[in-house]
Structure formats: C-alpha cells, structure tokens
Symmetry: C2
Subunit: 229 residues, 2 copies
Amino acid sequence: MTTSNLTRKKTSMKRRSLHEEISDHLRSMIIEGELPEGERIDESALCEQLEISRTPLREALKVLHSEGLVSIEPNRGARVAVLTPEEFAELFELIGGLERMAAELAASRATDSELKKLAQMQTRLESLYSAGDRHNYFELNQDIHRMIIAMSRNSTLTSLHEQLLMRASRGRYMAIGTEDRWEESVQEHQTLLDALQAKDSVKAGEIMLEHVRHTGDCAVNALKLRKAV
Amino acid sequence: MTTSNLTRKKTSMKRRSLHEEISDHLRSMIIEGELPEGERIDESALCEQLEISRTPLREALKVLHSEGLVSIEPNRGARVAVLTPEEFAELFELIGGLERMAAELAASRATDSELKKLAQMQTRLESLYSAGDRHNYFELNQDIHRMIIAMSRNSTLTSLHEQLLMRASRGRYMAIGTEDRWEESVQEHQTLLDALQAKDSVKAGEIMLEHVRHTGDCAVNALKLRKAV
DNA sequence: AGCCAGTATCAGGAATACATAATTATAGCG
DNA sequence: CGCTATAATTATGTATTCCTGATACTGGCT
C-alpha cells in the first residue's frame, strides 16, 4: 500500500486549545502582578470570571505549576508561587550561568548582521539612559539579553531562559533601582558588545556572568528589603 | 505485564493526587522505553489500562508536555516526544553548561565530607571500570554527576538539571558506547575530582564542560547513526 | 482506475455531575 | 466561658457526558 501523504501539508494554523490560552492569560496575570504572590487561586471564581469551565483551568494550573509560577498543595488548592529571596538568588545564579553560556556561544556563532543589530540596540540603550527613560531602557535591556540568547542558536536554551526569566520577572525590575548601578550596567553592556564583536567567547561569557551577577545581587537586596517591610 | 502497579489503596493514602502518580508513572514509562519515541498516546486506551478516568490522565499529559517528554498537537492528541539529533545536541550543550556551572559552584561550596564521599565514589568508579561492569558504571557515573550538582547548593539548578537529564536520558547511555571513550571518561572524572578538592572553580568548570561536551558528542553521533538505520 | 465529495465514525476538548477531603461553624459538654 | 467533637459547607479531585474537529470510509464522478 503506497501511503504517499501528499495532502499532509498542513499550514501551521495556530489552533490554540482553551487551556493553552488560559495558561498564557494566567501567566501574564501573575507576571503583571494582577495576581499577587501567594494569592489563593479560587477555581470556581476564576472560571466564572474567565467564562470557562474548571477542566481547562485546572489543566492550565498544572502547566503553570511545572513552570514554577504556581504552587499546588493536594486537596488544598493552588496559589501563586511565592518567591523567597533565597529562591530568587538561586534563580538569578542559574540565569547568570545560562546567559554566560549563551554569550559564549553567541560570540562564536553570531552573524555580522546580528552583531550590527545588537550595536544599534546598544546605541539606543545609551540614548535612553541619557534621556533617563527608565521604562523603555528596561524594555530594551531585556530585548538585548533576549537577542544574545537567540544568537546562541540553541532553541532549547532559549525557551528555557525565557521560562526562567518569567519566574524571576516579578523581581527583576528592581535591578535598576539605583542610578549608579544603572550607569555601570550600560558600561557592562558596551564591553560585552565589544567582546562579542571580537568573537572572544571567554571574555563575553565572563562579562555576561559578572553583569548578571551584579544585577542579581542588586535585585536580591532590593527584594530582601521589600520583604522585610 | 498488563498489571498496573498504580494501586491506590486507601490505607496507604499518601498526599499524592492521582494525576501526580500518573505523571510519575508515565514519566518512567517513557524513560524506560516502555512507551517508545513518537508513540501515539491513546487516552481512552491508557485510561483503561491504568484504571483511571481521562481527566487526571490529561492533566498528567499537560505536565509531561511542559517537561518536554510529550508533544501535544491540538485536536490531534499526544505522543511521546521525539528527540531529533539536533535537539539532543542542544540539550547536551545546555546540560554541559549547567554542569559546568554546578562544578564551579561545587568547587567553592563543597564541604570536606562531600569531597570525601565523592572521592570514594571515584574509587569505586575506577574499580567498576576495571571490572568492565558497564551497567553499574553507568549508574554510578550518573550518581557522581548528581552529587556534584547537589554540591552546588542551588536547588533550582538541581531540579532543573534532573529534568533535563530525563529528557536526554533516552540517548545518554550511548555515551559510553566505545571503550576508548570509556577510559577517557574515567580520567576526566579523576582530574575533575582533583580540581574540586583543590577548590579550583575555574578549572573544575572547564573540565566538566569538556567532559560533558565529549560525552555529548559521542552520544549525538551514536544517535545519528541509530536514526540513520 | 483514480480522484473528489459527502458522510460516518472516532478521538480529543470542554462542560457538567459526582465524590471526597478540608475548613468552618455550631452545639454539647466540661 | 472555653474547648472539643461533630455536622454542615465549601472547594478540590475525579468521573461521566456532551460537543466538536479530525480521520477514515464509501460512493459517485471524470
């Protein structure tokens, strides 16, 4: 039997299941802070609010749980995962390692056009810094990091990084809480760019690791202070 | 054979939900190869086999999906995720980076008793190598790696590593497919131990990275060959 | 004979219904 | 008056049912 499936060609229609959409929705609700840390997640209430049934919601909660955004206690329901300073520090340590790896790989794998794009982003970053536009600076900063991760040409690494970033994102904005750290950060980005352009893997990795470590330490301290209140 | 060891006796009721047990069960089924790569997962059939209903099974599938062990196409069901050589290579690259990080941290954080324990394991590893006991060698090898990860004192890193190892485990055993690589591997473990005992973070990290990279390359090649058949 | 259309069948997705554990309220007792 | 035990209530966990989209089959057509 010749099963030549010519009609198998299926345009990647984004057929999103309900639980997928709910996952995304809840994920942003958590990240945006709409659902605060530790908040109890009342299934029935949320179902009513989102106008869905419990089945897909519960599936979504399982997904978010294994992403580390939600904690589930058997027979006691789900709540938005609380991030202790210790966990947050661990997370940043981990992210630092991943970004270092990415920077190393990026140094050896990046194309010229990618480097050029990165240079442009860096220029814009500096102007945003000069303008004191903290919000857009922060956004662009994240984009630059994401760009470097993507330049590693490792999609597994990329998606994992993205996921960890989400877990950490609730605290990450604190990183640029102080002006002096801000200036330092811009500097580090520049030297990192230099290393990448020079295709110096080791150096790029080192700079990135230090950069993230600094950022992380800042954020951890900010978080500890805030928790102490 | 068809006997389900998913007995849920009320007497031994742990706090584990059904979907959690199912997740674990399916996870081992996949890792053990009982459910081969690409195998379609028929929900009704599995439910009947495990004597449960579809609801918890589907929840478990969502979890396994976000762990990367199962792929889900909307309206087309779930199947055991297939690991292409490319993905496998990415995975190993990633694991390499994580283990390097762990080795670096371990070098600075390990206690003397941990180092002693590790040295004992190394001794045993060498004797297993001499005896040609491949199976136990492989087991101990994994334990050593896990031990070093644990010595990093970063539980987030540890659990992530464990998860990635699962995804890769179906191909990992191929790593020691050749004798010469085997001997090399034992050597690398020894020098790694030396570096850890000397608390030389950088060196420990480098050795670990190289070690995993070698192992990975071997495994990737083996996988490619096998896929080509 | 091969191909396409229409239909039948089936499996997965979502909603509802049911069971059970946890929490809270209440009543009885000390 | 307070404490404990037990009942009521609520929310979670699981099963069942319904619905919808996908695949397979059949029959008519070129």
